[in-house]
């Protein structure tokens, strides 16, 4: 591993004499720079999407996994009595860490997105909500439902399972999609750099023939191309990363009203993740060019 890194470092450090041997190659240089920049720009977004959905999945699964809601739907004059009865049942239920009735302000806040901030909750026949927090072991939902059915006829237990799981699954899949996108972007970049390297090798067939004639080993010839293409990909990816990070910075900040979409971006040390992309692009270019060069050289005398 150390030997391979040392060889890589030596290759990247370069050799001024060897660098002059391969002539500058116009359009393949621009193609490599451009494709590395664009692909890294897109990879920054895919990375941001992946990290944001990862955070979302984590939040949904951790925040909602331990909580459930009891809804008391009863005539207005019976609401308080049934609420107290439900709280008594819950406080004596094994696996329930705490249970509390939501205040009028909290219920108003829940309804605010639909009815505005000044909705008179007290005057509306809306159900009372009780928030239940489970302990580590959790409670037996079926057993609790039976007890509530007997003692609080207007109570409906919602343990969030029905809608939490699909949401967490969707968030996890979005995260996976982000990661797959990064891999596909890497593969597309590898394909483009391979094409550019093959074009450069084909355009320089005469140069390679002369080098072979005067005793150049394949590794010497391939290194000359690999170094050039790796440095170009690194430079392009560096520019793409900076532009991508700037674009992410310009996105609106996370706000409660905006929900998920405004949370797309990096938070805290996650801003370091884009720095991984240029070396990764360089590594992709290194492998792609080396393979292309070795294949091309093997077909030459």
């Amino acid at each position: 591993m150390i030997g391979a890194l040392s060889r890589f470092a030596t290759l990247m450090a370069g050799d001024a004499q060897a660098d002059r041997v391969v002539p500058p190659t116009g359009f393949t240089a621009h193609l490599t720079l451009f494709s590395a920049a664009v692909m890294t720009f897109l990879a920054v977004f895919a990375l941001a999407l992946s990290l944001a959905t990862g955070r979302l999945a984590e939040r949904w699964s951790s925040e909602l996994a331990r909580s459930s809601t009891l809804r008391i739907s009863a005539p207005v004059e019976q609401i308080a009595e049934q609420t107290q009865a439900a709280l008594r049942v819950l406080n004596t239920t094994e696996g329930v860490a705490s249970a509390r009735a939501l205040t009028a302000e909290e219920q108003r806040a829940l309804l605010a997105p639909w009815f505005g901030p000044d909705v008179p909750v007290e005057d509306l026949p809306i159900p009372q909500l009780i928030e239940i927090i489970e302990d580590a072991k959790g409670y037996d939902a079926a057993g609790l439902r039976l007890r509530l059915q007997a003692e609080v006829p207007g109570a409906v237990l919602d343990d969030h399972t029905r809608w939490r799981r699909p949401l967490v699954r969707a968030a996890s899949r979005l995260r996976m999609l982000g990661l797959v996108s990064i891999l596909m972007i890497g593969a597309a970049m590898a394909a483009m750099i391979t094409l550019a390297a093959q074009a450069a090798l084909a355009a320089n067939a005469q140069v390679i023939a002369v080098l072979r004639l005067v005793g150049a080993r394949d590794i010497y010839i391939s290194n000359a191309f690999v170094r050039r293409f790796t440095l170009r990909a690194l430079a392009g990816a560096g520019a793409g990363m900076v532009l991508g990070a700037l674009a992410i910075l310009l996105l609106p900040a996370a706000q409660d009203e905006g929900g998920f979409l405004t949370g797309l971006g990096f938070q805290g040390w996650h801003w370091l993740w884009p720095l991984v992309l240029p070396p990764a692009a360089g590594a992709v270019a290194f492998v792609a060019t080396r393979n292309a060069a070795q294949r091309s050289l093997r077909s030459m005398p």
Binding site: Q17, A18, R20, V21, P23, P24, Q206, V207, A209, V210, L211, R212, L213, V214, G215, A216, R217, D218, I219, Y220, L297, R298, P301
Partner: protein, 225 residues
């Protein structure tokens, strides 16, 4: 040094060379002659492993070329200087850089060998053209530069394929003199040419063995040369 034993080479379904047996001894001078298309270039390419025999054995420096990997062939070529009729230069490099190319690709410091390079350019009469690009040179200058490149590594063998094909008679004589000088320095030289006048002119300067390719086979040429 270079040995071909019952070598045949086929290309595109046709046999270009057949049953060639040849032993190139160290310090010898060979002319290889025959009409255009007779297989002189093919035979020279077999001698520096640019082609691998279809059958038979080709041996370079006591190693069968079939047993050599690509690196082995590259290393063997550092001991063989090749001069092509079309010279084959890197057009974006100066003549001095082209001549120094074998040093660069073998990992030797061309800057440290500047004195050697200058001497060599002076020997072939190109001191004043060192910084010129290959397309700016005349045919004769290109041939002399190719010869300088072929000998800069002080190879054991020099193979020249029609080195006088694109130059006038005076330049042919000058190139021939350079090749003879190299042979006197102990280098093994093989020159492929269809120019019988050049071979006759060489006879007064060097003891050369003349081989003729006819009907896909190599024969020792007779006293008619």
């Amino acid at each position: 040094m270079i040995e071909l034993e019952n070598v045949a080479y086929n290309y595109g379904g046709g046999e270009l060379l057949s049953d060639v047996t040849l032993k190139v001894a160290p310090g010898s001078f060979h002319f290889l002659t025959g009409p255009s298309g007779s297989g002189k270039t093919t035979l020279l390419k077999l001698c520096y492993a640019a082609l691998i025999p279809t059958s038979g054995h080709a041996t370079l420096f006591d190693r069968d070329v079939r047993e050599m990997d690509r690196d082995g062939i590259a290393l063997a070529r550092r001991r063989i200087g090749v001069v092509h009729q079309d010279c084959q230069f890197l057009d974006h490099l100066s003549i001095a850089e082209n001549v120094a190319l074998p040093l660069v690709v073998s990992g030797r410091d061309a800057l440290a060998e500047q004195a050697n390079l200058k001497d060599l350019l002076s020997w072939v009469g190109l001191s004043q053209r060192a910084n010129a690009l290959p397309p700016e040179l005349s045919g004769g200058e290109r041939q002399r530069a190719a010869l300088a490149r072929a000998v800069i590594m002080s190879p054991d063998v020099i193979l020249a394929d029609e080195p006088t094909g694109n130059v006038d008679w005076d330049m042919s004589q000058r190139l021939l003199t350079l090749l003879v000088e190299l042979n006197r320095m102990g280098k093994t030289v093989m020159v492929a040419t269809h120019d019988l006048g050049l071979i006759r002119a060489a006879k007064s300067q060097v003891q050369a063995r003349v081989l003729r390719i006819a009907a896909r086979r190599v024969q020792l040429a007779g006293a008619d040369l």
